[in-house]
Amino acid sequence: MTLLITVFAAIAATLVWYFNTRRRELKLGALALMFWGASLMWLVDAVFEYAELGAEFFSPAAADMLNDSYLGLCVVALGLTIWLGMLLFSDPKGVIRNALTNRKK
């Protein structure tokens, strides 16, 4: 489930990157790459797990699935938070810079 949720997040981020004209300013590429990188790594993890468990891999216990889904959602939230941090740090609109300089004045 973690892999599946991350793949969906990667697809959504890629679509937003593709259709948004302000992709560079919003650092949408970094967001998409982050989710794709994690998806590829979890894919490898899944392949190794499949090699170990066989068909049992596709029928996980309900409690495991719930925990994995919860982890997947937390991973997406963390990814979005990292991306937001990067965006605010680069501050393309100068909002934070202006707020800080106004406060100093």
Binding site: A30, L33, M34, G37, A38, M41, W42, V44, L71, L78
Partner: protein, 136 residues
């Protein structure tokens, strides 16, 4: 266990490589985008950034998963499996198999991305040349 450490290690190397290439490109007079009269070509340092993004991002999210499962702890030795030799051997085995496979797959996908971008750039150059010939 600690499989994400291999892609994270690769990310350190590729980030240093990217900085060196970026420095060489800027000293050679190339900016973030090599602009010719015909088309815009992306410098290689920008393409390595794709690999960095996937490696750093993926490693960070996988590290979070390891914290979730209690495999990373905030006290020494930081990895629960590094506490005893038997678990450490299993951890190193996982790093050597799953970790290396993760780094290899991400690098292979990046290689494919670079290959496709090269084809698109060539095609764009060719269509520019064809348009120029038609004008003449």
């Amino acid at each position: 266990m600690a499989c994400f450490l291999i892609p994270a290690g690769e990310a350190v190397i590729t980030t240093i490589t990217q900085k060196i290439i970026e420095h060489k490109e800027s000293s050679a007079g190339k900016t973030t985008e090599e602009v010719s009269e015909k088309s815009v070509k992306m410098p290689f340092s920008a393409k390595i950034k794709w690999l960095n993004g996937m490696l750093w991002g993926g490693s960070a999210l996988l590290a979070f998963e390891h914290i979730w499962h209690g495999e990373i702890i905030p006290v020494f030795p930081f990895l629960t499996n590094a506490a005893n030799p038997e678990d450490a051997a299993a951890m190193l085995h996982e790093m050597g198999t799953a970790g290396v496979a993760m780094a290899a797959l991400v690098t292979a996908v990046w290689g494919a991305m670079v290959g496709i971008s090269h084809i698109i750039e060539k095609r764009s150059e060719k269509s520019d040349n064809d348009a120029e010939v038609e004008i003449k």
